[in-house]
Amino acid sequence: MALYKRNTIKRGKRDNQNADEMIKTENLTKVYNGNKAVDNLNLEIAEGDIFGFLGPNGAGKSTTILMLVGMIEPTDGKCFINDLEVARNPIKVKEIIGYLPENVGFYGNMTAEQNLDYFARFYATMDANERKKRIEELLELVQLDSVSQKVGGYSRGMTQRLGFAQALLNNPEVILLDEPTTNLDPEGVVQLRQTLKKLSDEGKTIFFSSHILAEVAQVCNTIGIISNGTLIERGTLDEIKTKLDVRKTVKIIVETTNEDIPKIEHENIVNVEYKGRRAVIEAKSDIREDISRYLVENNIGIKELRIEEPTLEDIFMESVYKGKGGK
């Protein structure tokens, strides 16, 4: 499909000769009112990677991306895309990137087609015919091809999809997406994921920012976790999972029907929190059978007895908030 045709990257004069890093930051720092939103960030993302940039709200993800695409000026440090320094080659960089901003917006008084055509006119390489063809393809891809309404009347989800089409306008080598699943319905999320996989298969480099680990885990092959402006973890998906999954205990939730829970004793129990008829037990193993037997012997009705699996999210949040995240 022409949409994903691989561009050969013109490797002309480079600011920074280096192997196959497509995206790179050097001591990247942004200070707002004395606070470091991004703090001495050093990132390297190889060509063809789908990189998940993970971090809670306010961690500095958007700030980093905005510096990578030249919207904001770093307080300190540099960014490179395909070895071109962003601040010094804004136009060359923009010719090879696609960017989907957080809360993407358009001209509300124009249709999707008109919006995309306006942007496309800034590419010297696209003539009227090519623009028309490309825009048709993209609108079909994001399923907005049959929408004739002006963008001002779009739902957030439709705008987001148009934002994705907009990011692919120039068939970019590097695609930077800032929380791209925001406002998308589940179907839209699945489609986005599939498209990103396809693009990656064609060798595009994808930078995907999100605050949801599960989402990043679905599409990305490498991950960086940012918290308070600093990179706290970096590696492949598996590496990150093992690094983060430090918890050796299981959490068991117990709730009784009528009486308060009596004191439960077991050699594997590490900690119990009693709250009337409810208890949260932290144990070294799954001791649900023992608990159940004990309660039945004491004639206590069991309303609920389940194990709470730590989600990736939990692991991530734990590491970010209780662990290395706090400065």
Binding site: M71, E73, K94, P101, Y107, Y123, G163, Q166, N170
Partner: protein, 355 residues
């Protein structure tokens, strides 16, 4: 370089097809229609009385004072009546289309989308300035054609000189509108959002065009010292002055001398006040526009209360070039003002963080 026209064309079309622009242009057209209708009516009256006077002179040349000729009314009179209103409405139109040019795109998020494509920031702001000025030019063109059309429909054909003056006046109105467009664009670039941008713009408008000139007069009157007493009442000339050594004639002469001195003092005083007032309104596009349009629209223009010009020349026909020569400093301000405002907007936009 082609990019600037892509931006300018979009901006121009957005403006001239936008409700805001069309609504204000419609108001401008209605008001100037009314003003022209009134103006033409009183022009016709003046013309009738002028024709009557001419006829009388021809019939009884001996009954008229020697050398006296009635003044032929000029159709420019109509535009003189309109010019103040025109200026204010023009400023409002310029502000209305300019105040959210950058802030609006920041709010909608379209600026980030736009800037992620290979377009220089200066292309965007230059294109926006060009498109906006084009739209204002379009509005002025419509107004010019409309007003000349109305005149012709009413059977009034401006003379060549009048025609030139009307066009020059329209051109300066446009220049004046650019000043406010540039203020609005500057505020739109600097302010966090459009609400603030419009607030800043209006505050600047009111301060430089109304507060400063009034404050200038006030400060001028304070600094110029006491206002000379004006004695409109002549001291009774004593009819019976037998013993005194001053004759009646001498008394009258003395009176006249005092009167003259007083007048001179008064003139000195107002000259001082106006001088100070001028300094306060030196950067005010409205004052400068009023001054320039007075010069363009009045064939007998002289700068009595000139901002910079010489005082009290005898009234005579001034050609349009002479008139412009007198107000060249005001013209310069009208030219420089938008340039400076735009430069601020430009510098700010080039470096600002967009998020």
């Amino acid at each position: 370089m082609a990019g600037i026209f892509v931006v300018a064309k979009k901006e121009f079309l957005d403006h001239v097809m936008g409700k805001k622009f069309l609504a204000i242009l419609a108001i401008l057209m209605i008001i100037s229609l009314l003003a022209m209708y009134q103006g033409v009516e009183s022009y016709n009256k003046q013309l009738d009385s002028y024709k009557g006077q001419i006829a009388e002179i021809e019939e009884h040349p001996e009954g008229m004072p020697p050398g006296w000729m009635p003044e032929k009314p000029s159709i420019l009179f109509v535009f003189q009546m309109m010019s103040a209103l025109f200026g204010i409405l023009g400023a409002i139109l310029a502000i209305a289309i300019g105040f959210n040019l950058i802030s609006g795109e920041k709010e909608s998020g379209s600026l980030k989308s736009l800037l992620s494509h290979p377009v220089f920031r200066d292309t965007i702001i230059n294109g926006k300035a060009l498109g906006g000025m084009g739209a204002l030019g379009f509005a002025m063109l419509v107004m010019t054609l409309l007003s000349i059309g109305i005149l012709m429909m009413l059977g009034i054909m401006p003379t060549g000189d009048e025609f030139v003056r009307i066009l020059v006046f329209m051109g300066f109105t446009l220049l004046f509108m650019f000043s406010f467009f540039a203020i609005a664009l500057m505020c739109s670039t600097i302010a966090k959002n459009s609400t603030r941008a419009i607030t800043y713009t209006l505050v600047i408008f009111i301060v430089i065009s109304f507060v400063m000139p009034i404050a200038g007069t006030f400060v001028g009157m304070q600094l110029a010292g006491d206002m000379p007493e004006f004695s409109g009442v002549r001291v009774e000339i004593q009819e019976t002055n037998e013993s005194g050594d001053i004759s009646k004639e001498e008394q009258i002469e003395e009176q006249e001398r005092i009167q003259e001195e007083r007048q001179e003092e008064m003139q000195e005083y107002w000259k001082k006040v106006m001088g100070i007032q001028e300094m306060f309104s030196i950067a005010d596009p409205l004052s400068n526009f009023n001054k320039v349009s007075a010069a363009v629209l009045n064939p007998r223009f002289q700068s009595f209360r000139g901002f910079f010009g010489p005082m009290g020349e005898p009234p005579a026909e001034t050609s349009i070039l002479e008139a412009l020569g007198i107000v060249w400093k005001n013209l310069l301000v009208l030219l420089l003002f938008p340039v400076v405002m735009f430069a601020i907007a430009y510098i700010r936009f080039m470096r600002m963080d967009i998020r």
